[in-house]
Symmetry: C2
């Protein structure tokens, strides 16, 4: 067990702060999981947490010690921080005194295992971590088989993705892929692909999501690339307002829950 | 015309920074509209902008001057800022050099005018400005007749609401109300109220939104109060995931677009 880390210039503090940068995350192969709920879901999912940084002064509840014990039982080293050093590492305004360090987990298409009638969310080049996190959380709520993150502008291990996903990053089966690989992979499995674009004629509720289906949503600014538009059936979410735009995460949620509705009406459970 | 404001300690700069606080907004009765798109929608909506603060060095496009001229033609005073003073006032990481000051507009239930078959979003005690803004944007996209903001924990004039709404705050008819007043108002008009709660049995897609309907969504942390639960038909958004929670704004969007779907299938335009 280490001495408590109290200095904001401690080398570990500096190293952890650097993990906010994607390049540092990519080079080191690790990432941070901050917060009680997020770390709970990481441990629940069986993710091996290598180190757990704790600041008991900042704990909000009574269950932190039990969670830390579970992480330690799974192999994590426990490192105590003073509150200034912890606040320096924390990504939050009101830190909860718990941050885990884990290896980025493999997320390949070939690692996915699908049900007989899969429902998949594909997202391409999402820019905002909050949107990517919300998409993961919403996809989990819709009971998808997997989320395929294509050409990630923001990587799923970004601390704000972990946070906005409420830890669903650890629960929903995930693949990171190039767009051509994802298209081939879906085609090989006979999964019908629906590409959302405002230019489409077909309202999303007229698409038939009851069979094996993938719903593709593009970036906030540019939408889907031509490759997805040419390799999917085009759907749009009909809008009656003056602005005619939905947030990308909202578009994903509206389309996914229409699929859930159709499958329920057809007597199918989502994802079975 | 003023001299350009260059000092970050200028009294106007200080006064504008204070408008980030709700109490200051409430006492002064004014609020700020930052950004090209947001200010455009404010001017488009006919809102009288009293002052427009401009920093040409920060402009991103070529249309800023035309927008400022429209605001000035509508009665706004133009005040030029140096970039440090502007950045001090700005609420953004990358300011676009445009902020308007306007009076908070009246938003009473009695000011709403409804179509023959209204669709209304009711939100109660929403805490996060980003969620309230997203709800306004999504409600506009769904073509609602109105959004009723009950017991606002976050006021709609919060700068992050303006921002997350992309200026839809100025486009979608809005009322701010207490919960009992809203319930009475809806009942008097024969508008059927659906209250979303995870405890409900009825999936949202089995509710009949084809007639005059209000969909009520509660706060992120506590959901709807008992008053809404006792005065509405309970619906839930069925979830198939491991976490069983949707962001409040996402829940609003999923329910609203189900109403849009039903109305379209029934040959009704939303909101007509």
């Amino acid at each position: 067990m280490h001495e408590p880390i109290t200095s904001v210039t401690n080398p570990l503090v500096k190293r952890l702060v650097k993990l906010r940068n994607r390049r540092e995350r990519d080079e080191s192969g690790v990432f941070l999981i901050e917060g009680f709920r997020e770390l709970t879901r990481a441990v629940d999912s069986g993710l091996v947490v290598r180190e757990v940084y704790v600041c008991p002064d900042l704990f909000l509840g009574d269950h932190e010690d039990a969670l830390i014990e579970r992480a330690v039982a799974g192999g994590a080293e426990r490192v105590v921080f003073g509150s200034s050093a912890f606040r320096k590492v924390s990504y939050r305004d009101r830190p909860e005194g718990l941050i885990g360090l884990a290896d980025q987990f493999p997320a390949s298409l070939d690692g996915l295992s699908l049900s007989a009638n899969p429902l998949i969310l594909v997202v391409e080049s999402i820019e905002k971590p909050g949107n990517l996190g919300t998409m993961l959380r919403t996809a989990d709520a819709a009971g998808v088989d997997a989320v395929i993150v294509c050409e990630p502008t923001t990587d799923p291990f970004n601390p704000n993705v972990v946070r906005a996903s409420l830890g669903c990053l650890f629960l929903v089966p995930l693949a990171i892929s190039s767009t051509p690989e994802a298209i081939d992979w879906l085609a090989e499995r006979g999964i019908r692909t629906f590409s959302a674009t405002p230019a489409a004629v077909l309202p999303h509720w007229r698409a038939d999501f009851r069979g094996p289906s993938a719903i593709a949503i593009g970036s906030e600014q540019y939408g889907l690339t031509e490759t997805w538009l040419q390799n999917g059936e085009l759907i749009r979410i009909p809008m009656g307002g003056q602005v005619d735009s939905l947030n990308a995460a909202m578009a994903a949620g509206v389309a996914l829950f229409e699929a859930v509705r159709q499958r329920s009406a057809a007597g199918l459970d989502p994802g079975t």
